[in-house]
């Protein structure tokens, strides 16, 4: 009877979780949906307390207290700019839980002597995926928070080496399924999986992190699915599947936005590629024309339609608030301001939206690439802040460019362009951007945040 009630509670939780994800499709319903999901989680936890296998509560309470104490600051105080590393860290937590449960259930099975092969397959996948997600996520966390060097670390025959290790780990899993009592094989599989996680993220550079963080999300989900199979728990299977698919869809979307195939991100070590030299060597004709803050302000003050294009440079300069103030100032004068968001503008999917929302920009002003591109031809001024490759017209016009085919924001269609840039150098990928040399483009050199503050003041006085 109790068991049935527990399962029914899980059913309700699963319904609430799926509804929450549906609610995330609409910004005005999302918050309420997630609050219901939190209720669903509480329900599932309370129901589990009555599980027949649970005979003592003290260690559950200890663990829960420690976890809650660790989770509170992670939820309340982590700044929005640190969101990518925060998410990477919680992938590690989620995967760690799955891995430890896998190991614990395996040791229980060993002591009672009853591990069926189906059970072992699930436990094996749980530990393998879980362990590589733990170390992979910790690596991603290290790179994103700049504890570890963000550049790709490569060595000869890296991919062959990594795939061999992974293959050996899978082989160990197969051996375990045939003969579950071989403890050393299990230990070897665990160690190999931990090593594979480190090695997989080692060659991946900072700008490719959005794909990797999403992919690790997917692995953590699959580890949860395996847990569900291992302990016969449907809600883990459902949630894991949702998680797994979400991560997978996001990583595919990110790869697409970067014009790279999945395998290219994982095995390509982008930052180490010399391919850029060709594009840079040709060099666009003409001169960059510099503009002063006064002139820019004048132009923007009398513009009817302005599109602000923020790139990662905006977040680096912590200039979100200054950008929002500037937008307010222009709107006060009757201009229409939108923010054009490229899918890879931040360090994780949707990061830039969160940063601007935090600064107080209402979400109907944040326009996705597909919706904003048709609007550029009727835009008087496009203000580019710290973005480079995502607006490079070479992606549309120059088949020789390494970014050819990458979806970009068509800033070059607008009537005039002002680019806020630190200096004359090339951007992250080392590519020259011919847009900067275009006749209708003016360059406002200097620190992005200071330039935005100056512009705001000038517009106020204009």
């Amino acid at each position: 009877m109790t068991e049935t009630l527990i399962q029914l509670a899980y059913l309700v939780s699963a319904f609430l979780f799926i509804s929450a994800l549906r609610a995330l499709g609409k910004p005005d319903q999302a918050r309420r949906g997630m609050q219901f999901a939190a209720f669903g989680m509480a329900l599932a936890i309370v129901a589990t307390l009555f599980h027949a296998r649970i005979v003592s509560y003290e260690w559950i309470l200890v663990g829960a207290a420690v976890g809650a104490l660790a989770g509170y600051p992670l939820g309340r105080w982590v700044p929005m700019t640190a969101m990518p590393e925060r998410i990477a860290l919680s992938h590690a937590f989620g995967a760690l839980a799955a891995t430890l449960v896998g190991i614990g259930e395996y040791s229980n099975g060993l002591s009672t002597g009853e591990i069926g092969s189906g059970h072992m397959v699930a436990l094996g996948f749980e530990v393998l995926l879980g362990a590589l997600t733990v170390t992979g996520s910790l690596m991603a966390f290290g790179k994103l928070s700049e504890v570890l060097p963000g550049r790709p670390i490569t060595f000869p025959l890296q991919n062959v080496f990594n795939l061999t290790l992974l293959a050996v780990a899978v082989l160990a899993l197969v051996v375990l399924v045939i003969e579950p009592t071989l403890l050393w094989v299990g230990v070897a599989m665990l160690v190999l999986s931990l090593a594979v996680g480190v090695l997989l993220v080692l060659p991946i550079g900072g700008a490719d992190m959005p794909v990797v963080v999403s992919l690790l999300n997917s692995y953590a989900g699959l580890a949860a699915v395996a847990t569900g199979f291992a302990i016969d728990n449907n809600i883990l299977i459902i949630v894991g599947a949702l998680d797994g698919f979400s991560g997978f869809i996001l990583s595919v979307a990110m790869s697409k936005a970067m014009n790279r195939s999945f395998s290219n991100v994982l095995f390509g070590a982008f930052g180490a590629q010399p391919a850029q030299a060709a594009g840079a060597a040709a060099g666009p004709a003409g001169e960059m024309s510099a503009i002063s803050a006064e002139d820019t302000a004048l132009r923007m003050a009398y513009a009817e339609r302005v599109i602000i294009v923020p790139g990662y440079g905006l977040a680096v300069a912590q200039a979100q608030h200054a950008a929002k103030e500037l937008a307010d100032m222009i709107e006060k004068r009757g201009g229409d301001v939108r923010f054009a968001i490229h899918p890879v503008a931040g360090r994780m999917p949707g990061h830039m939206n969160v940063l601007l929302a935090e600064a107080g920009v209402s979400y109907d002003k944040l326009v996705d690439m597909e919706d904003v591109n048709p609007k550029f031809p009727e835009t008087d001024v496009s203000l580019v802040i710290g973005a480079n490759d995502v607006i490079n017209p070479a992606a549309r016009t120059n088949p020789g460019s390494p970014i050819y085919g990458m979806p970009i924001l068509n800033v070059s269609d607008s009537k005039s362009v002002v680019v806020l840039k630190r200096g004359r150098g090339t951007g992250f990928s080392g590519l020259e951007n011919e847009l900067f040399f275009d006749e209708k483009t003016s360059m406002l050199f200097g620190d992005a945040k200071q330039s935005l503050i100056d512009l705001g003041l000038e517009i106020k006085n204009a």
């Binding site: 999302a30 989680m41 599932a44 939820g75 839980a97 449960v101």
Partner: protein, 107 residues
């Protein structure tokens, strides 16, 4: 393959399908909250961790279970808090609130 496993495979397939349909409809605007949300929800592995920590099957199982409970709980608490914090920041333009209020009044 046992009957339970077969049913679980069906559950997995259907959940994957629902997940795919649901998640492709989420706009890029909310992709970061989506990731935080799936993280929070994946804290459901807490239920598996609790069973391991509370089942008194030896020191190793209890120790592993306790650490697992702590990590899953950190995701649950931290995850739901941060999603709520983020979603609270996504606001519509203030001028639209009048329309919103009228819309609400009609209902």
């Amino acid at each position: 393959m046992s009957a339970t496993t077969t049913i679980q495979l069906f559950v997995f397939m259907l959940a994957g399908f629902v997940g795919y349909q649901t998640i492709t409809k989420i706009p890029p605007l909310l992709h970061t909250p989506l990731m935080a949300a799936t993280n929070a929800i994946s804290g459901i592995s807490l239920v598996a961790s609790m069973v391991l920590a509370g089942s008194n099957q030896g020191v190793l199982a209890t120790a592993l279970g306790t650490v697992a409970v702590a990590s899953a709980m950190a995701n649950v608490v931290g995850g739901f808090l941060i999603v709520d914090r983020m979603l609270a920041m996504f606001k519509r333009q203030p001028t639209n609130t009048k329309e919103g209020a009228e819309g609400a009044a009609k209902q």
